[in-house]
Subunit: 635 residues, 2 copies
């Protein structure tokens, strides 16, 4: 068996970062270059910049009118008008024109009477220096225009040029080499074979390096070859300001990176107490920091934020910006281990005036959880987790304004939520939909706790045969609007061609099934159908195997992971599976009546009722928009 | 006399913007282009993007270890170990490796015992699908990856590539033509002659267009020539998505722009009720919006934000982000007119847990007030102003974190404040100094109201001859630390060579003087010296003419605007003036004792006491650092 590299440390995050920054401090060198001011946007000044010229450069008219000698206007009044001769007693000036001796005041055009002979009559005296902008009013030569380590904004460029500055010294952008590694890794342009993994982290790092003020250079994928990796990394350490090696940092059998770095330089940290993101390598080759980041996208992202970004900010002369922080109420229990600090991605919304945070998928591989997240909730290393209803600090990716204009949807999953999420911001710019998938019952519970605006639900009352109404009546004391959504067909998803010849519920006993999570309407429907057929859950192989969405079930049935699952027709179509209809059901939206008048909830309803929505939904297949958008009040 | 274009309207800002946006709506067209995903950072998606592949693309090991058939491990226990044969009962897998039939579970490397014969012993059974990431766990083929009108972040690029997307349609960046105009306007690279104005607005606009998602093209300055302007603007309207004409929008004699635009197209608005920034032209040539902005930098900036940015955001497919808003206590009365909405630039700080906003210079020409500002305070059109102590909403340019780490300095002005403002963030990254200049007495009053951390002061007690201590004792009930600053020489500033032969206070009667504002220590000193010499203020020509800083006084004396003023030696040196010493004085910092332990106030003291500070200050000339940083408690 191949040698494994099991002996990672478990250094706490902050300690690891501080130890690394301290160890690198003697080696890090901020470098500078001179650039034209006109090309300096977003660069960082080396040192304070002082004005060469005054602005205005001369005493200047602050109004359109005439420049006069104030002393010559003394005594002017309604009864004692004074007439001024052009070229002698006055000259015409526009705003910004110089006012030179002997002139020392400006009279506004509105306050003069032009006469036919070219003279001008005034009926009030001018005070000395009235309507004159004195030289240097805005900028005085020698004055400091910008401090050192200042990031240039558009207005700074204007002021620098007005102050006579054409070039300035700025911090050189650090150049960062990025090496994706791994034999199983392929370029996105290649056709994936079974077992291949598409390389995408390095492209994410490119963007993150750019946003942190650096210049990324991404190298082609290096296969698992010790000597090749060593050669490439050694060369890059001689040419770049920083090197990132992606993957090859865990304890897998082909993880050479840490050995390469030990041979070429010094490894300070290998393994950090953070989840996800443990296998991080913090090292140095010569003066150059070399960081090994884990391969899972979420781990890679968190490793970058924790270790690459602070170093890059130092090299780029920028102050590291921690994001906007706010307190939010957690909508679901989050358990964590004492062994590490955990970063939980959350959706954040504002309901009833309070911020609420719903945890998203926690796997390190769940890159989509980063895309969907509105922020991170940090569970510290010494905490066992957070209970629902507790308040936690959240680091936000989105502005408070966006969050306040977001309709929070928690409940059952359906593809039409994606359609709505796409439709809303294009119909109503600045308004968003955020959806978390916890099943119908979970959504109604969240609604009851005031943590969501909308709960999509499809719960069958076995006794009445009615959907949703009776459950809502049972759960809520306040009036709830049941907004009718779509009729959709539930059924059994099987592989294309139905190789096992599955015909109905009975046949689920002889295949590998994949179920939905507890509280999902689809699971309730299965339970109902099993009961009708007199089948016990134990008879179904895979009854306890849970997937969180219709599409996840479809993907498993499409692979060799499962033979059948229950779900909606659109998911079967999307994954090219066969579909055995079990029956139609009503997928609706529960909204507490007091939310109906909120502007963004109104826009949610507007999107739902739009023709565009119904056209797109019917194109997905398996839906009918009979009563879409109609409201049934449940009181 | 030349024809003037006096007839501007005075349309309220919001009405002007809405009318213009409505008028342009039929003409504005968002365009699209296809770009590689790897080059899509910060671009805006045209429509929703759906995954082509699942991720993972196969059932994959979630741990390093061995893949097994779960059914073959049943019954394994401490007493009943099961031995597995390589290649038959198990294969070795690393994280991410595919788990293919017949294998359906992974056992972690830590949980197996490797034996010499190559077999592996386990003492616990594996549950089916344990440590296996199911196909599509992260991304399911057909799933929506990103909605339409979404701005691409680094993580989005990663997910798009993982989902098999290589190219995507994005909103084309609108191309914006920028025309600086005016015969008196010169390029920054030219040597300014008297009356010339350096063109800088167009360079500021370039940055602002870039930040709003557009691509700027800046044309050379067009002199005041009706036909030339017409030709250039007409051509640009045929080639670009938007045209900005800078200056030429007020009622001055050479302001052709509005006539050109009326001839070429349609002018919707000329003149907006906003201060600064009234002379705005909102027009159209064909499908293309053409906007005339005023020449003063602050007016130009506000006009851009109010009228260009929203149009650009529409064309660029982005949601316009209004900045962070917060409530702040106003430190000084701000009067405004009912006729217009006024934008007042403010410094913002946090003192005693509350945000405080200090208004900056309000002239439209004061570009430096934009550089120094931390935000805008808006006084609505129907308001006469705001009293000190009232709470107003402020639109912030800076993050709350920066503001919380800012030492708020309000009081007397000295060049050493610039040195400190430059020094602090480079010694202590992330810590800033914000200073507002209201004179010594104004600063102490602000300190008393809890609106500043530090008040620089140089107030002479005429009776004791002592500086600062007695005034502070009189004003404060709480203990105040008087941190000694510098000894500096005050004197009379006169033109180089002293052409009027000024020798002392007595001679101020026969020259044009420029004074400092009420409450300034330098004015107190002048009053004291005048009293000693038996001279009444009325005898001094220019006693009522006020400048706000030493440097502003020096600039006026250096021009033909004034013959003499009082100020500090370093200002005379900076402007190459002659200096007649009047006497030394003590320029100190008053800090309420309860602020002394605040981390950023400690860093202020650290900067003040640093060798670097004292070296730089002594190089300015006219200063002595005798007791710099020592603390005298005034109780």
């Amino acid at each position: 068996m191949k040698k494994r590299n099991l002996y990672l440390n478990n250094t706490p995050v902050d300690e690891a970062r501080e130890r690394y920054l301290r160890a690198m401090e003697p080696y890090l060198r901020v470098e500078y270059e001179t650039v034209p001011v006109t090309e300096s946007l977003h660069r960082v000044t080396k040192q304070a910049v002082y004005a060469k010229y005054c602005s205005p450069m001369f005493n200047a008219a602050a109004m359109d009118g005439i420049a006069v000698v104030a002393a010559h206007t003394l005594g002017a009044g309604e009864q004692t008008p004074v007439d001024l001769r052009p070229g002698e007693d006055f000259i015409v000036v526009d705003t910004g024109d110089p006012v030179r001796a002997p002139y020392d005041a400006v009279i506004m055009a509105e306050d003069i009477l032009e006469r036919e002979d070219g003279t001008v009559r005034i009926v009030a005296p001018a005070a000395p220096w009235q309507h004159v902008r004195p030289i240097g009013e805005d900028i005085v030569a020698g004055e400091m225009l910008l401090p050192g380590r200042h990031k240039i904004r558009p207005i700074d460029i204007g002021v620098l040029l007005s102050g006579g500055i054409l070039e300035l010294e700025v911090v050189k952008r650090p150049r960062v080499a990025i090496f994706p590694t791994g034999t199983e890794i392929i370029e996105p342009t290649e056709d994936p074979k079974p077992g291949d993994i598409i390389e995408s982290n390095s492209r994410m790092f490119q963007g993150m390096v750019t946003e942190s003020g650096g210049v990324p250079t991404r190298f082609p994928v290096i296969p698992d070859d010790y000597e090749l990796l060593k050669e490439k990394v050694a060369k890059a350490a001689g040419e770049f300001d920083m090197v990132i090696v992606n993957a090859g940092s865990s304890a897998g059998t082909e993880d050479y990176t840490v050995h390469v770095l030990r041979e070429l330089g010094e490894v300070f940290i290998h393994g950090v107490a953070v989840k996800p993101g443990k296998p991080v390598i913090l090292a140095r080759i010569g003066r150059v920091p070399v960081i090994g980041l884990p391969g899972y996208p979420v781990s890679a992202y968190i490793g970058f934020e924790n270790f690459v970004a602070p170093l890059l900010h130092t090299l780029a002369g920028e102050v590291s910006q921690t994001g906007l922080r706010a307190d939010a109420v957690v909508t679901r229990r989050m358990v964590s281990s004492l062994k590490h600090r955990e970063y939980v991605r959350v959706k954040v919304g504002q309901v009833d005036g309070k911020l609420v945070a719903s945890p998203l998928a926690r796997g390190a591989g769940a890159a989509m959880s980063l895309v969907r997240a509105d922020g991170f909730c940090v569970i510290e290393q010494n905490s066992e987790g957070v209970e629902a209803g507790e308040t936690v600090p959240v680091e936000l990716y989105r502005t408070m304004e966006e969050i306040q204009n977001t309709v929070v949807v928690i409940g059952s999953h359906d593809l039409i939520l994606d359609v709505l999420a796409d439709l809303m911001p294009s119909r109503y710019p600045g308004v968003y939909l955020s959806s978390t998938h916890v099943g119908s019952m979970g959504g109604l519970m969240a609604l009851g706790r005031g943590e969501a605006h909308v709960a999509p639900t499809h719960l069958l009352d076995e006794e009445t045969g009615e959907y949703n109404v009776s459950t809502i009546r049972r759960l809520f004391r306040e009036p709830v609007a049941l907004v009718k959504g779509v009729d959709r067909i539930q059924g059994i998803l099987v592989k294309k061609g139905n190789p096992l010849g599955i015909r109905g519920i009975e046949d689920l006993k002889r295949c590998r099934y994949v179920n939905r999570q507890r509280g999902a309407g689809t699971r309730v429907l299965l339970d109902y159908k099993l009961k009708q057929a007199g089948i016990s859950p134990e008879e179904i192989d895979g009854y306890d195997r849970e997937a969180a969405t219709h599409m996840a079930v479809a993907a498993l049935v499409g692979s060799d992971g499962a033979d059948a699952g229950m779900g909606i027709e659109s998911a079967a179509r999307a994954m090219d599976l066969d579909f055995l209809p079990v029956g139609p059901e009503e997928y609706d939206f529960a909204i507490p009546a007091r939310f109906l008048d909120l502007p963004h909830v109104q826009k949610f309803l507007g999107s739902l009722r739009s023709e565009q929505f119904q056209t797109r939904v019917e194109a997905l297949g398996g839906y009918r928009c009979r009563n879409t958008g109609k409201i049934v009040m449940v009181e």
